[in-house]
Structures are given as structure tokens and as C-alpha cells.
Subunit: 492 residues, 4 copies
């Protein structure tokens, strides 16, 4: 949607130059830059298969069935062409640009825009057999994505063989797929969680690809986080190796917003909304006590996006602690000095801490030092209860006998389990339709997602590697911190 | 925030080229394009004033007081420089690009990024006297913007003379300004409406500028819609003419999202959320009746953004009618034919209509033909009750004796009056801080707002002219319509 | 539930007298009163049928199947006996009591308590065939009632033949019943409206009873308002006349809370919650304008309960106008004098008006004077838009040129269409289970509902007549008005 | 409000006997019972003080100032008389009644109705100086009660000296009271928590009464739980002992609803609403996993009211564990056998556990056995994490290798911290006004609260002792359990 608006404005300005003439009364300075638009190529079934029509299951090229819709007709410009691209980088420093010598050329990545193509590569009426699977933890909007995949395949392309693979990756080889009818998914976008069920782990590459082949799926939609995307990449690679007529696409799901390249992940805005409500509750608890501290632990193992956004949304937060920014408790410039000052000034404080923050500060038992999670990383300790305990220790030592209350709120499961809000529901809808259009066009091994507000196709290989951390050395972060006015923990 | 993420990724890629190397296994195609980055110049107080320090009220240049913050220190890269820019156009068609002859150069507009500058132009401790005014109708987030202007001025720049001008433009010359203390605005971001009060009209240029001068304001923050922005431009021009040391900035407020250039306006996401609730209620009413029609009239006089976004968010809508797309009732391809089919299929339908849609279809009395609104345009007639009546006529004619129910819901005032949701609260916060940093840096006659996800400064003159309509000839709109699967009303 | 608590306390006190001894330090005064507990007898199938077992469809007497539940066993006291009663009148004036001569006896109505009986009158495994129908307008909680009827019949009594009659009374003879399985209704309690569909009118007594007989229904659950209850009474009487083995029960549904005897109707608390939100929006609009008036029109044709409760809940209301209390606009003690004073004092006012208020004040055209609604009463005119117009007239006459804004909010359909809140969901659950237990026990022609907090059975004939108006001559209403501090419109 | 409706109906029936005649076609059976209405006498200032007027601070008798209200006039019946009473017991078993011998008389407790009296005992314009204090944990509605005390005193009685005592009991002697103006509390009813701040403990009787005396308070409003009420009783007794012209009233606040006699406590309905949302989240988590268990820990140390009501409201709960009903994990009829069956049937289960349930089952360390809370009782252990761990043990033992997920949700602080919903806001409003009217009438040592839906005055001494447990031996509880269909844990 935002997408549309952008383009509209930009088209206008390129067509008639109107925007440029509006400000004729203001001087415009010009800086010449030469760009190479480097197009991020997408894998396509024709990379290893030749279209033919000896069998109705073969790769073939037919016109998009939307041409035959009863109520509207694709006009000129309805279909997106393969030469429609989106720039990834939009921020530049002209000073640096100015220092580039005239012959220099700056490489800029460009991605294919998402949307329906005029030609598709399988006849949806006879040949398409689609599988949808959800993996990993819950995130608002999962059911909307599933629903829209079903509705889009059914109504736009006439596909009737659509299946849900239950319980994550292991469902491919250990459970029966669930037929998904238009009526089955009718109101799923209003429900939290995933009605396909989900699980972690269970990734058994050859078992999965064998099962996909055996069950005759030729479109596989995989919804999950970064681990899931790495699994999807392996499935895609194995399918390529076997030269199968099966297209694979990933739909990135991460409530933490820690997947790179795309603007943000679905469910994230909803998560921030609920996190903000938890902060409000903490604020009420803090305000209602003498020297009250409201402590909110939010999701975010490697990144502090939810904590950061909820902090800026709620404006009740005195200090926001995220994994990307080390902090310390005692001493000059430390957390407790700051809290002491705020308590004196306002009588209460609210602290938000992302679950991955402060992991280096929490003492570990020998057993905990050895313990590893499923991915082989040291396990996370509970920063919320540790910090609550440290706060109580600090106060009883420095202010014996004085009233003090710490209330710890952990809204994690409520954040994960709610239905998506309007913004995220719209996102999930466009995301699912992007994925369908891409896969119908014969693309495979790709991911859909918004880049600078426009839906694009990105190679799965690229997304599986990209991270999205909060960059605390950037002037944008610094600016954000100036809003909260909290310490930078940069020096003692 | 999204802002931050983008930049981070882009900085990385420009620094170390990592992103480019991820996909070494995929061929990258390159297309050379030469751009002129045309920087949209901003008006600045020094355009007509010379800095000096003969009086403490003179324009002077001093370091940003954030340098002296107790808890954190601006590091290298904290301040935004005047050469940091954002590209406006990010969508290109490579085919066209390829056809450009080697020597051709494409002009691309670039805007100054928002953020704190290392030098400011007035000593906030002694000289700044800021006025904030809200004009026009209500919109979620107005109080958050006011609050953040006060909090940002107070805490980041140490300003203490901050005033609210009550009741819109007329308040400048007919009412006493209200002193706004940090404590006054404490919880305003949790309240709907505007605690400064607002009004329409009352724009008396010379009276306003005289009053600003007389009351000693040297920073004027004007929150309002497109009419208000045109007024702000006149105030700015008059101040330039008088060569006054007064900076003016506009903060665009339009629940309809009809202001151009910026990605979207504040309060819009909240409005869509509430609109979606009204659609849910209409859906319930429709489902609970035999041949039930839920009809929802949403805001949007010249643009259908709320209707469109709420339709895509809710997925309960069968047909969405907007001002940008003509429609007709009877005959082949018409609304009633479509509704008839949907009623037969599902037993009920939901129709969303933007208030500006179908104005040409509604019969006007002679009096109504003459009637003009405050801006001289023909008055809007109530499309909701007209359409309800037409629906009843149609049915009783074509289906006499059959049950039929139309329920009309108009959630307008509830949409306008709620507090901003988390997403919009964050937007309002960054918007207000952007405005403060810009005005402290000596810019004037400008507007703050997000462009492709990054906060930028835009000349007021440009914003006052720009429109943001839904472009129904674009392939994005077509795609969107394919989601709802509704008629295009293109032919009979 | 509240029910339970009461009884518990009362049982305690009757058993061990503990409550009486708590206050031994306070003098207790005693007043002797003699009561006749007049038990409101309920119609029962055995009033006109003799139990026998010649056919499995005959009236028979068998033990309650809950005796055989797998996980719990009915202990002594589990079943409610026919001698368990609830007093209707609980308020007395001792002075009057004292003046009663010794031999006098006061009649007090008592009702049978709701709950499972140890013996039932039809074998649910083989013979029960239940029909559920919803009539009239929407009300929060209808789907919960339907769901709980299905779940209760299915799980507690093992009934498997449960049908929904679609589209109200006419559905009996013009549509096919919908089989309702446990899975069908799984999540209906989370959805607004009625998934059985509803309609008004269509009451054709003999057609309906014939259809009931023909389709073999022997339990009929009728959900609807006062008109529907009068229809249910006729159906019951006709069934008695035909001496059929069919039990009929009414579940009163009225969002206006205008049905008598019961404490309140389901959905009412939810309606007040949503109405309060509309008042909040109106308050925001009023506060944000100069001389702003927020005008909220709420449901309530003959009674002002929603208006009254929402007024007391929200505390933002300056004046609440209800059908039971006449008002006038101009002159001493009139509405405008009062509003003028409030505007002067606070700068804004909020007015709530029930849709049935002020009908005598609104001028009617000759056509409108003749027009009657389906029940033959004069049609209601829109008091909201009339009052808005009168307010504008008043102001422009008395305060020409002064700013003034009236915003009218009508949340009607949103109030009707939301799902029930927790309080109402619990109510609907206990209501449905009460109805099932009663009908299984052979009662017929009755209604379930809370009396003084305890669920009771009431003859349908009594409920069909009873009204629940706000008594403005009572000292409770006067007290309520003292909270809002509004005029009594008692004199000029 | 409900209050009003009852009375209205009852008045009607006693006046004209109409209700009795409605059902002339049904036989009415009559059972004679003789009652002694035993009036629960309230303490009154005149119990130990004589009215006089030698000083303006003396006890005096003057007409209620509401007589002089500008906009309405107390009509006949406006004021409540001391002979207006409410029956406490409304449930009877006629069989037992019938067995009473003719001369026997049943004692029934009756309470004074709340409401304004025609005469008051202090001149509010000159002499009243009121103190309001909040003690103990948070509960939705506290701020509404405070606000309405201020508004009611100010607007109805013209009191201007109203003070908030900060931070609970200790605030009387260690902090300065906060003057509360009408404007101060303007929007407090929309905010959670208590803006007066609260604390536990700090009860120092003589210090408190000395301070009350020294600061000249003559009305003391104490908001708190059962411990607080016992403290209030001591304060009242000490004031009696000193024969001071100071009236004391308690406003019972307990989110657990564990205070006896009154129907329910304020904030309880709101708590159930939020608890239901947590259950919904747990249900989503459970449904989205393979063998998923959603475990929700709710408030309720000695009583299971919140757990019970939320279970019945949400209908997603398979088993509800409360302190009043012992349970066991393993073996026949145990929890795990039941859960196993439900998992097999539905694939997931939801369990709700009140914090006080199962305390006997949780193993205690020696230290924990010794540990006592502030009241000398054994400390509560965390039943939530214990049960989660036991569930995991059970499953991994009985179902090694099978997928299983337990998600534990503890919404405690979010439940406590939200603002009151409409139902509770109305409750708080009528509660506060009841308290004011009572204290103005010279009553002291009393509590206000609803009895069978009508607001009454109850001696503080009685409330301080009364408990409100769920009676699991009552047939109402059994019925409730039949709704959830869960085990009774009565036998192995």
C-alpha cells in the first residue's frame, strides 16, 4: 500500500517533472552520481528445467489466469515486469558523493518488485499442489499468512489442492497433510497462533524432500524464523540438485524483527503494541508505590527492536536495555546511579530489558556455563529475575529501611499469542500474495518482503544470512537515545 | 526507527560490500544509470538574516547543548550533517533505464535527513520562545505531537518558554497563550484529541504575524492539514518579507493521509485500526441477517486511503468504493450485479465507501448544487445514506418480498477521537523531535516527515501543493484490487 | 456465581448462626414480620401429559444422566430440589412493617431456583430433538447462549440431535434447520451477532407449531426480546392446547434491558462498556473544540438503562436524557440554561440521549404523525439529529459569531455487534445451562434469569408482560441524578 | 442501579399487587413463614457524642445541603430513611420452612440501605476535613473511588478540605497529606493503580490516631483489603475510646473477591476480563503446539473466585484448580489421567490454577517450612512453575520422545494495573457516594457495599471478620463444575 503511494508519486515526477517545478522559487543544488544498479538475480525453475508440455505436470508457460477474471480485466500496466526494480540503498552523504572522481561508479543493489506476472509456469487448474508449513515460535499474523496463501491460490489462480503440513518440519515426514479449503480458513486472520500447529527442530533434509516428492507437492511455502530459513535454503538446494519441478519460497516470521534486508517482519507492530501495554501496567505499578520500579522483560535474544520501539512508543520508560548496548550496574555512569537520580526526581522509574541484554553480567553456575541450546550457543539466563534481585540488593544496601518495590512483568506469551493488528494483517496479506505471484511466475528459492516500503523478491540465500541488529554506533540510534535521555554506559 | 535499520544495512553495504558478496553464487546483472541527485534546498533563517550577537535575541551560532548532557556524550556520528540526504525515488524500470543513452542523466530528488545538528542558531536557555498551535479536525496523535514538542524542547535543549496557542489560527490574535510545562503535558500522549483545542478557519495573516511578533515567539510549530499548511506557508512568507528572526515549521496532520511526498501521516494507522473494527461490526450485522448488507462509510473526501487500507486489513469486505475510482450501480459490471452474485454465494456482503466516493451519482437539489463549503468547492453529500437508500430500492424492486437488511455504520468521530496506537505514538515522537532539531538548526518554512521510512525535511512550499491520491492506473492498485476481487467498473 | 456466594453465606448463617453472633457488641433491633412466601408455580409437561413408556418418545421419568459422569459424582446436595426458592422482594421499610397489625401477613413472591434436577422427563440419548432460534435485533452474547445450549445438551445430557432454526420465527416453516454439532459451535462465544441469523416478524403461529410437530422437535429454545417472548407464550399455549410432548423455554434478549423481573439482560454490561467508549470519544471531541458539545445517542426506545449506566460509568457526561424523564429546551430549569452554565464553567459539555427520549418535543410532519411501526406505535424520530440541530439554532441565536461545535455520535451498531465481555459470557453460560436443566426437568413455558443475583425459573406468561422502566420517582433514581448533578426538569 | 430496578418492581408489587395477578391462570402455592427482621445496627457518632453547637466543629444536626441544589430539588422520597432495609438472606428451602412449627420465627438479618439522609451531622462548608488513604496491593478502580469521594464531597456537600494520605497507613504519621481539588482528580477514573500511592504494613495505631487528631481530620475514608479493614476497625475503636468527633468508614478493596457479606468487590469484574484474555493467549499457545498445555496462574491466595469466574467466562479451560478444592496429580481420578484423556481427544488442554491452590502438594525445603509471611502464615510457593515442572516430568516419563509443550502465563500485574471497566467504574462511583452519604449522616465504623444488588451499610466489625470462600459442598458449585466437566478429585 505504502508501496503504491510511493510509486504513484515517483511515476508522476518522472513523467511530468511536476514535483521538480513546484519549488522553482528555491534554489536546487545538483550533485552528479553514477550508479550501477546491480540487480539481485532470483533463482528460477528454468535455471535447471526446460519448459515442455509432454505431461501436464511439466513446466509449461501459460498466460496468467487473472486475464479471465469475471469482474475486472488486467489493463495495461497491471502485470509487473521483470525489469521493475527497487533500490535498496536510499541514504547517501553528498560530501562523500562529491569526492567520487567523475569516472567512478557506485554499485547499488536492486531487487525485483513483487506482483503478478503476465505468464506463469504451471497450470494451476490441473497441476498445482501446494504445501504450507509453519515452524518455530508463535508470532501475530501467522494465521493471516496461511489464510491469504489459501485464499490467493484459490481465488486468483484457481488452485484447489492446498495442504497444511502440521507441526513444523517434522510434519512433512511424520504426519498427514491437512486439506485447506477456502471455507476452512475463513476467519483464521482473526485468530492468534497457527492453526497448522508448529514445532521447533525436526529438520531431516532427505526425509523432508523425499516426502515432498512422494506427496506430489510442487509449491512449498515455508513460514518461519532465521533457522527455518536456513532449513528452507537446504531444501531448495536439494531440490535443485534433484532437478525437481518444485518451487520453494520462504515467508520470514520473527517477532523479534531480527531478519535483515526487509524493512520489518510481520507481527512486529502488534508485538510492540502489546509490549507497550505491559509497560503501561509497569508504569502504574511503579507510580502507585513509594520508590516503585516497574521492570518489563521483553522479547529479543540478539536484538533489541521490540524493547526499543516499545520504549519510544510508550514514553513512560526511563531506561531501555538491549543486547546491542552493554551496560553496568554500579559506579559512575552506571544504571543504579541513574535510577537513583530518577527516583529522587520522579518517585518512580520504569526499566525495559530485552531478554538477551546483560547476559555477560549474570553469574553462571558451572553447569550453566556448559549448557547449550539447540543451536550450540550458551543458554540464556533470565535477565528479568536477576535484575529484580540486583535492584533489591542495591536498595537494601544503600537505603536500608526505606520503602522500595520492584514489580517484574513478563508479557512474552501474551505478545506472541494475540491476533495481528490492522497494520500487520495488511502486511501479511500483501506478503502472502507476493509469495504466490512469485512462485506462480516460476521463481524459487526466494523470499518476499518489503524493502523501503515496497514488496520485493529476495534470494533465500541472502535472507538466510542477513541479520538485523540495532546499530548503536549510528547517529540514528544516538538520536533515539536522546529521546529517552538515558545513559550511554560508555564510560565510568 | 525503521529508519535506523535501513541506514545500518545500507551503511554496511557501502562500507564493506558484504551484502554484494553474499550471493556470489547467483549471477548479478548490472545496469549503469547516471543520476543527478537534486537536493531539495531548505529555507534557512540566514537566507535573510545575518548571525550576530549584539542582542541575546539575535541570530547566533552556538554548539548544540546536547554536548553537555549528563548521562551520555554525542560520539562521532551523533549529529546529522547537511550533506546527509534521502532519495525520493526508489522504483525504476531497467528496460527504460537501459534505453537511456550513455550521456543522459536522470534527475532524482534528494532531501535533507532529519536529526540534531552540531550547531544551533539561538541560545535556548535565554532566547527561545516557542508557540504550538493545532488547526482543523481531530486526528489520533495530536496530543502526542504536542507533548513531544514540549518534552523535546525542555529536556534536550533546555527551553522553558513554551506556549500552546488555543483554538487554532484565531487563537494567535484572540486568546491568551497557555504556558506548557513539562508536568502539564505528562500523560497527554495517552489522550485523544488536542488539549490545546482546535478550530477551522480564522486565518487572518497580518493579525497572526503581528501577534506572533508582539508576543515574542521565535519558533512557531503549526500542526494541521493541507489548508493549514497553505496558511503556514503564507505566515512563513510574510515573516521572510518582514525579515523576522522567527522560524516556522509545519507538522502535517491528516487522518485521510492525503498529503503528498511523506510516506503516510500520523494517526493514519490508528484510524485504519478503528475503521477495521467498524468493518467487523458491519460484518457481524451482515452475517446475522438474511441477505444482510453491512455498509461502512469511512473518512476520505478526496482520497480513499483509509477505505483501502481498512479493506485490505480486515478481509471481510466484498467491495471498496473510493473517490479515485468511479463506479455505477445498475447494469453489467455494476455494483448491484456484483452484490447480487455475492449474496447468492455467501448470503451476505460488506461494502466500504469513502465519503468522497460517488459524489457524481448522488442527485442534488438546486440548492445543493449552489452550496459551497468554506473552500468554495461543492458540498459533499452523504454517500452512506444515499447508498443505503439505493440498495433498498434495488432490492425491493428486483426481489419483492424477500428478506433484506442494510445496516449503515459511520465510525467517523470514534476514529478521530481515540489516542494513537503504538506505531503512531512512535511516529509522532520522532516527528516532533525531527521538527525541533530542524528549527534549532535554523531551518524555517519546512515540514518534517518520513520519506521511504526515513525522517526528512521538506520545504513547506512543496508540501502545501502536493497531493496523495490513490493511483488507479498503476499496477500496484490493480494488484490490490485483485486481493479483494471486486469489479473494476471499467465497462458495461 | 454471584449466586453461589450468596447462598454460601446464607447457608452458613442459617446453619450455625455465626453471622448473627459476630456483632454481639452491637445492639440488634428486631422487627417481627409475617410473610406468605407465594411460590410462582411453573408450567410442567405433566400438567397435561401423563408419564408412560409405551413409546420411547413418551414422557417418562429417568434419573439425571449426570449421575454417570466419568470424572465427578453428584454428591448430596448436587441437585436442586423443587422446594428451593428465591425471594423476589428484598427491600422493606420497617416503619411500614411496624405498622402492620399482628395478624397481618405480607405476601412475598418466591421463584424456583434454577439448576439440575435429580430426575428428568425424556431420555436424552434416544428421544431428545432440540431446536434453537434467535429472533429480533442483535445483542452481545447471542452466540454464547447458542453455543452453551449445544455444549450443555451434548456434554451433560448426551443429546445429539440439536438444530439451529435459521432466520428467526419464519425459519421454522420456510427454511431447513441446521444441525449443530459440538465442533460447529466451538468458538462461537468469541464472535458477535448470531450465526443462526435472525429476523423480525414472520410470526405465523399455526405454521410454526405445525413445523415443530412435523420436524419432531420436543425441546424449543427461543432467544429474543419482549415481542419474541409474547410469541413464545403463544407457541407454548398452542402446544398445551394440542397436548404435545414439547417443552418450550424463552431466553430473554434485550440490549436495552427493558424486560422485567430479571436483574438485567445478557449483553447489557457489554453494551454499556461500548457506549462508554462512544462517550469518551464525544468527550474528546468536545474538549478539543471551543464551546464544544459532544452528543451521544444511545439505544433505549422505552427505557434509559444503557444511557443511565453509561453515564454513571463514564463520568464525563453533563446531562443524560432518558424516555422516563421529560425535559424541555428553553427557559428556566431547561436544558439550554444548564448547558450554557456548564459551557461557561468548563468550556465543553457532553450530553447523552436515549433514542426514545424527547419524542414529544420533535415536530412531526403529518405523514410522520400517521406512520406506525410494525407494532402499531407511532414511529420514532431521530432525536440525535433533531437535538443537534436545535443546539445549533440556540447557539447561533443567543451567541451569534461565537465558536460552537456539536459532534453527534451514534454507536448503535457497534454496540450490538461486538462479542460479549467476560461478565456477559459468564451470564450467557449460566443462563443456557439453567434453561437446559429446567427443560430436562419437564418444565415448559418458562424463562430463566437472575433474580437478586440467583438464577431462577419464571413463568413465560409473567415475563411476557413485565416491563423494566427507570422509575424516576424512586429515591434511588434521585440519588443517581445527584451524581450527575443535572437538572430535574421539574419546573420552569 | 440494579438496585433501582429491583426496588421499582417490588414497590409496584407491594402497592398494587399487579405482579400477583399476572399469572391468574397459574396456581400459586402459599407457604406461611414468620420472620424476625433483625436489623444490623450501625455505630453512630451520637453513640458517644452529644450534638451541640457551641463550636462550629461540634456535632450538630443540619439539613442536607442537597436541598439547596440549583438544578434539582429533592422530592418526596429522595432521601433514604433509617427504616429502609435490605434482606440478606433470599434463598430458602420451603420444605424446611414447612416443617417449622407455626409459632416458630426465623431470624433474618437486615441492613440499612445506603443513600443520602435528610439530616447531616457536620456543616460541610465550615467543618469537614476529610482524609482518604489507600493500603495494600493494586486493584482496578482505586483511582475511581478516590475521584468519586472527592467529586461527591465537593459537589454534593460543598466540602473543600479534602486530602489524600500518601503511601498507606504509614503516610498518616510520616508524610504530608496531599490536598485534593476537584481539578486534581479530573481524569483519575481512567487511570489504573492509585495516584495516592499505597504500601503494605506500617500500621501503628496510636501514631495514626494521634496524627488524625493533630491534622484535624474528622472524616477518614480507608480503602484496602481485609487486613486494612481490621486496622480500620482498630482505628475506629480507638477513636470511640477517645470520644472524638471523627467518623471512619472502610471501602473494601480486594481483587480476589475474598471479603464476605458484600456481593463482590470492586475491580473484580475487570480482573476477570483481563484474566480471560490471558486464558485466551494460553489457549492459542496450546492449540498451536502438538500436545500443547496452556497453564495460567491467576490471583487468589485463599479463594478461587477469579479462577472460577475466568474459567466460566472463557470456556477454553479444561480444568480449574482452586484453593478450596484439593487435587492430586497421579492415579485414578487424578489431574494427569484427566489431562491425558483430554490431550488424546483434543490435542491440547488449558489449565487454570489459583495461586493458593495445591500448596500442600508442593515440596518445601526446611527453610521454606519455617518461613512466614507478614501475617505469620507459611509463605506461598509458586504453584505455576511447580506444576509446569511436574507436567514436564510426567510427560517425559510416560511419553518419552513425544512432542509436548507447556506454556506458563502469569498475568498478575497486568490484571492489577489496568483501569476499571464500565461495570466496575459504576460500582466504584456508587460505592464512594454511598460512603459519603453514610458518613455525612453521622454513621461511623461502617462499610458500604452491595448486598443482593443494593447498596447497604454494614458494621466494620462484621466485615473485618467475614470471609468469602468458594463453597465446594454447595450444589451451586457442583453445578458450576458440571459446566467445565472437570474431575472432582474426590476419590482414587
Amino acid at each position: 500500500m505504502a508501496d503504491h503511494d510511493h510509486e504513484h508519486k515517483q511515476q508522476q515526477e518522472s513523467t511530468d517533472g511536476a514535483a521538480l517545478q513546484i519549488n522553482q522559487n528555491h534554489a536546487l543544488s545538483r550533485t552528479m552520481m553514477s550508479f550501477n544498479l546491480v540487480l539481485q538475480k532470483l533463482p528460477h525453475l528454468t535455471d535447471y528445467l526446460l519448459p515442455s508440455a509432454s505431461s501436464r505436470h511439466d513446466l509449461m508457460v501459460i498466460p496468467n489466469p487473472m486475464d479471465r477474471n469475471e469482474f475486472y480485466r488486467p489493463f495495461h500496466g497491471f502485470y509487473v515486469s521483470d525489469t521493475d526494480v527497487i533500490l535498496r540503498r536510499i541514504l547517501y552523504d553528498l560530501e562523500l558523493a562529491g569526492s567520487i572522481s567523475p569516472g567512478d561508479v557506485v554499485d547499488v543493489l536492486a531487487y525485483h518488485r513483487a506482483g503478478p506476472r503476465s505468464q506463469i509456469y504451471l497450470d494451476p487448474n490441473v497441476a498445482v499442489r501446494a504445501a504450507i508449513v509453519t515452524c518455530g515460535g508463535l508470532c501475530p499474523g501467522m494465521n493471516t499468512v496461511i489464510r491469504e496463501l489459501v485464499v490467493g491460490l484459490w481465488e486468483l489462480y484457481g488452485v484447489r489442492q492446498i495442504f497444511g503440513v502440521p507441526a513444523g518440519y517434522m510434519g512433512f515426514y511424520s504426519m498427514n497433510p491437512i486439506p485447506l479449503h477456502l471455507h476452512t480458513v475463513h476467519d483464521w486472520h482473526k485468530r492468534g497462533g497457527t492453526l497448522l500447529q508448529t514445532s521447533r527442530g525436526g529438520f531431516d533434509l532427505h526425509n523432508i524432500v523425499d516426502s515432498i516428492q512422494r506427496q506430489g507437492f510442487n509449491q512449498v511455502y515455508i513460514i518461519g524464523g532465521d533457522g527455518t530459513m536456513r532449513g528452507a535454503l537446504k531444501i531448495f538446494n536439494e531440490i535443485c540438485r534433484r532437478k525437481l519441478n518444485i518451487a520453494v519460497t520462504g515467508l520470514p516470521k520473527t517477532v523479534d524483527n531480527d531478519i535483515g534486508i526487509i524493512d520489518r517482519s510481520f507481527g512486529f507492530q502488534t508485538a510492540v503494541e502489546i509490549a507497550q501495554q505491559a509497560i503501561s501496567a509497569a508504569h502504574v505499578e511503579a507510580e502507585s508505590a513509594v520508590n516503585g520500579i516497574g521492570l518489563v522483560k521483553l522479547m529479543g535474544r540478539s536484538t533489541g527492536h521490540i524493547a526499543l520501539h516499545a520504549t519510544l512508543s510508550s514514553r513512560d520508560v526511563d531506561c531501555c536495555l538491549i543486547p546491542e548496548n552493554d551496560f553496568y550496574l554500579y559506579g559512575k555512569g552506571g544504571l543504579f546511579e541513574f535510577l537513583e537520580q530518577r527516583l529522587k526526581k520522579n518517585g518512580h522509574v520504569v526499566v525495559v530489558v530485552a531478554e538477551g541484554a546483560g547476559q555477560d553480567l549474570i553469574p553462571r553456575t558451572d553447569a550453566q556455563k556448559e549448557e547449550r541450546d539447540e543451536s550450540g550457543n550458551p543458554v540464556f539466563l533470565d535477565v528479568g529475575s536477576w535484575l529484580k534481585s540486583e535492584l533489591n540488593n542495591w536498595w537494601s544496601r544503600d537505603h536500608p529501611g526505606e520503602l522500595f518495590t520492584v514489580k517484574l512483568i513478563d508479557p512474552t506469551y501474551m505478545v506472541r499469542a494475540v491476533p495481528a493488528n490492522a497494520t500487520d494483517n495488511l502486511y501479511c496479506t500483501l506478503l502472502a500474495h507476493s509469495a504466490i505471484h512469485g512462485i506462480m511466475a516460476g521463481y524459487t528459492g526466494f523470499v518476499s518482503g518489503p524493502i523501503n516500503g515496497n514488496y520485493a523478491y529476495i534470494p533465500l540465500a541472502e535472507v538466510a544470512e542477513a541479520k538485523n541488529a540495532v546499530n548503536t554506533k549510528d547517529h540514528k540510534w544516538a538520536w533515539v537515545r536522546s529521546v529517552t535521555n538515558q545513559p550511554d554506559f560508555e564510560n565510568k
